[in-house]
Symmetry: C2
Subunit: 335 residues, 2 copies
Amino acid sequence: MDTNGMLKTKFTETFGVKYPIVQGGMQWVGRAGLVAAVANAGALGFITALTQPTPEDLGKEIERCRELTDQPFGVNLTILPSLKPPPYEEYRNVIIASGIKIVETAGYNPVDHLPHFKDNGIKVLHKCTSVRHAVKSQSIGVDGISIDGFECAGHPGEDDVPGLVLIPAAADKISIPMIASGGFADGRGLVAALALGADGMNMGTRFMSTKESCIHDNIKQKIVENDERQTVLVTRTLRNTNRVAKNSVSDEVIAIEKKGGATIEDLAHLITGQRGKVVYETGDTEYGMWSAGMVQGLIHDIPTVKELVDRIVAEAEEIISRLGAIFSPSPAVRS
Amino acid sequence: MDTNGMLKTKFTETFGVKYPIVQGGMQWVGRAGLVAAVANAGALGFITALTQPTPEDLGKEIERCRELTDQPFGVNLTILPSLKPPPYEEYRNVIIASGIKIVETAGYNPVDHLPHFKDNGIKVLHKCTSVRHAVKSQSIGVDGISIDGFECAGHPGEDDVPGLVLIPAAADKISIPMIASGGFADGRGLVAALALGADGMNMGTRFMSTKESCIHDNIKQKIVENDERQTVLVTRTLRNTNRVAKNSVSDEVIAIEKKGGATIEDLAHLITGQRGKVVYETGDTEYGMWSAGMVQGLIHDIPTVKELVDRIVAEAEEIISRLGAIFSPSPAVRS
């Protein structure tokens, strides 16, 4: 690791990265090209295991990423309610066999997988959406917490607590490294995350909208065009809430849900992840639902990953210097 | 104004206060005792006009506050949908006649009142819950914006955009002083607000839970006990959403709303502000709905206002010093 200009926090020390900036798992988005670019920029990227159709494909994707970077990167394994559960154990075995040393888990508590990862020297960063789940995860021995607020793309949980409150509330009870997720896109967010008690930040939608992200350019443009009001919560009635970009499909899902009593079978033709996959591949933003966070309201360009990361670090440094000046005129309170 | 140890931001300069910390209007809570304590602590407090039964009573409350402090304070005038609108113009005339120089407006756009305030040298801080309303308010000539996120107690609007996204999105378009509101209780929040592009922060629920706040001690204790999950949104179906502490009355309102088609008349016996008034006076937390923000999850004590403000400033200073150390080892990015 190049330690020149690194930002040292509990997170960077434990996970061995230069900057406390993470590109966590994103279904259909977390592939080798993006993850390697993130690693090369000094941040921590995660290949999304279940984006690969088979465990063998995941092994190949990890190899592909290794060809593109000599910096550390990880693999995300998300465990969510599913009509047809994937073979989690086989994916896990590939992660271990491939020599990956950092795993991001999300969704269900990773207790069944944790001993396997720990036995193989793999550090586990668990993403969760509530203080009680963060506390539970810490107690079972994960190495870091990614605490994900209401603003986030994808799965915000059912409590609707945004980062401004969730991050410090979690920080009060978490002693292991913790990064903040949901609503972050720039240096302002990084400094806010650190001020609120986190040791770094995770960005999803912002990394989706970079040159190296594999999704269709139409989606990136749509994220740039959309403001913070152009997301909606769907499948809340199934108690598996998703934040997605507002479009005709999300409107249809919400209309069905409003009638009441809709089951996962009633919605299956609209909510299948395969539809989202087609959106990302074809750029037809109205074909299916696709994840986007409210933070799209802060996204106005499509830079390279390195431009983005460098800009964030420079902006954060400038903000901290500006904040220092607010407090410097004379010692506060001590009068 | 005592300028020793003041924190200089665009907000403190324009509004003439020592610290960029505001106690904005709170129905039944913003009375002379609390507001004077806030002023004496170097922050900016607002008497809530409509808490006083008549314009004449407001005049007396302002006088009472003047007896308790020689520091600047303001009056809040909130204009909301109401079954029986109060005499706004008469309240406004009392504010002007009393020599108040700072007014916080909230609810509807203050365009009808603004010329009267401006003509009398009164600075207007307008509280709103969306970027477009902030931009509109700036364009009609208010002197400052209080941008209020989804986390807040009381009226979060209908967009559900939390501060982490709303504050920087607004900062991108607002050039006049702007403070951040909703989800703030401590020095971590103050630094986060400043990092996100605000010039200060507003706190409601946190100031409610101070020794000088006039509400019954049971309410303060309940706020200390409750965590960030113990609030709910009510009257959303009327498009006049309120965040209140979760209790049996809020549950009843939500149950009626879930059935669909409830009108303001159907709910009137449950949602009248007079019920909230009784809660604050008697401490019977189940008698009516009462406002509390998610930030109650970060409130663990009932300090004096001065203890609270001093602690926030000291904590903020400490955080900024810690952040400086993260960035200091060597210049970032410039390699």
